[in-house]
């Protein structure tokens, strides 16, 4: 029996958002089909224009992001790459030069020229350069120095500090491990104890927090899960709890919230939605939908010899736990298995989240018809939300695909098929073919 009291702040805030979103949906459903088609269109041209202008010049109010300029590069470049557009070569060149000036002579990238190197801006800079692609961009990264910067940021707890004397959290772990993996400089020294740190951040709710004890949060859950996969310790997490937590983060609006009982936000389309892309690949590489339900015990009803051997592959074949010299990543988990799954003859399975509902939220509620995407109706567009709404949209469109080479079926794409974005590598959030180019470049394979 529910007792009626006046709504709490949480309830009231939620009701307000629902009213706005449902009114948008109602308007949409009441429209004639031709208008509906228009509403569901991804406004590619407008988004690209908004993005390109941002890359060239940002207004004075952006000085608050002065310590984050590589992030702006990444948000913009990645978004443009997702739409399969190109940046004019001169602008590309300027960006490469700019990022080089953000690179510290002792390794790592800062938020701007002359700033202290920082793991998050390093992640953004490296991802930007990988997205730009090409020899000039990729060879501009000083991997040796970057490795030593990371070693310095490594903390005894297993975590990493964001910068000299900076904060330690799950985000720092992810940015470090992601970059090290991408550049093929991941080794035992960097990986040591990271798993323990992240494990200590999985909360009673099932999601992962930024620091041990804090609240389960979408951004940190993505970071934690991706990191555990990269260091090949993902089975140490309670995956069934994690999945159970994240599926309930999708709300009636179709979009995701970052934490229990908080409001929907377009950026979680990637942070939370991307978790499903990671899980899907885990399942595929294991050869069965075999997420253990507890204690690492596999609970699939039909145990299977092939399944067992592919489990072994995942834990041994690519295990980082093998000793290797510190720049040798041949012993790293093969992340190609996670991004580029060669078809193992599975029937198409539905994604664990509601992909079409999320796409509906992104297209109808997050798009600014003048270009750019946003958190929710009533908020302003920005480059961060543009990046993560589009990344989330890409994940949604591919969420039924077992094989990245085959284009998704039309029913996987809400709205016109022309809404289709480029596929990403979910561990790094860079466009897949840029990842592949970088992978070849850095592993010489």
């Amino acid at each position: 029996m529910e007792s009626f009291t006046s709504p709490t702040v949480t309830q009231r805030d939620q009701i307000l958002v629902e009213q706005q979103v449902f009114s948008i949906f109602k308007t949409f459903y009441d429209m004639p089909p031709s208008s509906q088609s228009f509403m569901l269109e991804l406004q590619r041209e407008n988004h690209v224009e908004y993005l390109t202008n941002g890359l060239k010049q940002l207004g004075p109010s952006f000085c608050v992001l002065d310590a984050n300029r590589p992030w702006i590069c990444y948000w913009i470049l990645h978004s443009i790459a997702l739409t399969d557009e190109f940046v004019d070569p001169e602008l590309e060149d300027n960006t490469i030069d700019f990022l080089s000036r953000c690179q510290d002579p002792n390794g790592g990238y800062g938020g701007g020229p002359g700033q202290l190197p920082h793991l998050a801006t390093t992640y953004a800079a490296v991802n930007s350069l990988v997205t730009l692609g090409g020899d000039k961009a990729l060879s501009s990264i000083n991997r040796e120095k970057l490795y030593s910067f990371m070693r310095q940021m490594k903390d005894a707890s297993g975590g990493f500090r964001m910068h000299d004397g900076g904060e330690i959290d799950v985000r720092a772990c992810y940015t470090a491990i992601s970059v090290a993996s991408l550049l093929n400089i991941l080794d035992d020294e960097l990986v040591q104890n990271v798993g323990n740190y992240i494990l200590s951040c999985q909360t009673y709710e099932g999601g992962i927090s930024g620091e041990p004890g804090s609240e389960a949060h979408g951004g940190y859950t993505f970071c934690g899960l991706a990191t555990m996969i990269l260091i090949n310790e993902v089975n140490r997490l309670d995956l069934s709890s994690l999945i159970d937590w994240v599926v309930f983060r999708q709300g009636v609006e179709g979009g995701f919230q970052g934490r229990t009982n908080k409001l929907v936000d377009g950026c979680y389309s990637f942070w939370q939605g991307g978790i499903f892309a990671l899980i899907k690949r885990l399942n595929s590489t294991k050869g069965e939908r075999s997420i253990p339900l507890g204690d690492g015990e596999d609970s699939t009803a039909s145990s299977d010899a092939t399944e067992e051997s592919s489990n072994k592959d995942l834990s041994q074949g690519g295990s980082h736990s093998e000793k290797g010299d510190h720049h040798d990543t041949s012993s790293r988990v093969n992340v190609d298995d996670i991004s580029h799954n060669s078809s193992k003859g599975h029937a198409k399975v539905d994604p664990l989240f509601n992909s079409l509902a999320l796409q509906q939220y992104i297209l109808l509620c997050s798009q600014d018809l003048n270009g750019g995407l946003r958190d929710k109706p009533g908020k302003s567009r920005d480059h961060y939300h543009t990046c993560y709404c589009l990344s989330g949209l890409s994940v949604c469109q591919r969420s039924w695909s077992e094989d990245e080479d085959a284009p998704p079926l039309p029913r996987a794409v809400l709205g016109p098929y022309s809404n289709l974005l480029e596929p990403i590598h979910p561990l790094y959030n860079v466009v897949l073919d840029r990842y592949q180019e970088a992978h070849e470049f850095f592993t010489g394979s």
Binding site: S3, C63, G166, F353, A357
Partner: protein
């Protein structure tokens, strides 16, 4: 900023440098390089750190979600030690009174409690917040933090019974509130047996029917309690329809249930 860059490059650690960092921070509180340098200067000058707290507080008024600020606060408090504790806990409360789910504030609060203590009143604080808003997940999370880590409560097992009662009351008042459900599961983390056998939980969470009781048990414990899977299957089927947003999740859960003997 050019002034700052010059001082920074020269590594000048003077009162002038300190003033410059203050100005730079006002211009852009997100500039972590400036904060870092400010710490170096503060150390070199051996400045009064209580004043530093006031400085941070002024910046915080318009930047409560800034990582650098909170990190700097931690650095200062670390040096001030337990004398700073009461004031700090009070300050965090006032920030939370403006934004009761501020992630940085909560992380900082947990850090202060663990580094400097002050646990005695924390459960009451959670209680207060939950009375104001039973849907506040940050408060539930803090409650879990307190009951599991406070040196004064005796640990999770000691408080479990009263916490179960509390969660069950919250569930009954608002069954659609996800927080107490997850909290309840959290109380029995890694000990599903006890959860299942807790009468208080079964009386409220499950319909009186024994069959239903078993079905929910199967959902939660399918790898250790191979009960009648047919009922569990039925439940999944029901959920697939009443919680259709998560239909494919319930189908997946159904497929993971052990095959009935």
């Amino acid at each position: 900023m050019d002034y700052f860059r010059a001082i920074y490059k020269a590594d000048e650690r003077s009162p002038r440098a300190l003033r410059l960092t203050r100005r730079a921070i006002h211009l852009n509180p997100g500039n972590y390089t400036v904060w870092h340098f400010r710490r170096l200067v503060l150390e070199a000058l051996n400045t009064d750190l209580d004043e530093e707290l006031d400085f941070i507080q002024r910046i915080a008024n318009s930047n409560s979600k800034n990582y650098q600020l909170w990190h700097h606060r931690r650095w200062v408090i670390e040096r001030l030690g337990s004398n700073a504790r009461a004031k700090e806990l009070h300050l965090i409360k006032s920030i939370l009174s403006l934004d009761v789910k501020n992630y940085h504030a909560w992380s900082h609060r947990q850090w202060v409690l663990q580094a400097l203590g002050g646990w005695e009143d924390e459960l009451d604080y959670c209680q207060q917040l939950l009375e104001q808003d039973i849907f506040n997940n940050s408060a539930w999370n803090q409650r879990y933090f307190v009951v599991t880590r406070s040196p004064f409560l005796g640990g999770l097992i000691a408080v479990r019974a009263s916490e179960v009662r509390y969660s069950v009351e919250a569930i009954v008042a608002n069954p659609n509130n996800e927080c107490p459900w997850r909290y309840l599961r959290g109380l029995y983390k890694d000990d599903i047996e006890s959860l299942v056998n807790d009468r208080e939980i079964s009386s409220v969470c499950l319909k009186p029917s024994q069959e239903f009781r078993d079905a929910v048990v199967a959902l939660w414990t399918s790898d250790t309690h191979p009960l009648d899977a047919d009922l569990a299957t039925a439940i999944c089927d029901i959920l697939e329809h009443v919680d259709s947003l998560r239909a494919s999740y319930w189908i997946w859960r159904k497929n993971k249930l052990p095959i009935a003997a």
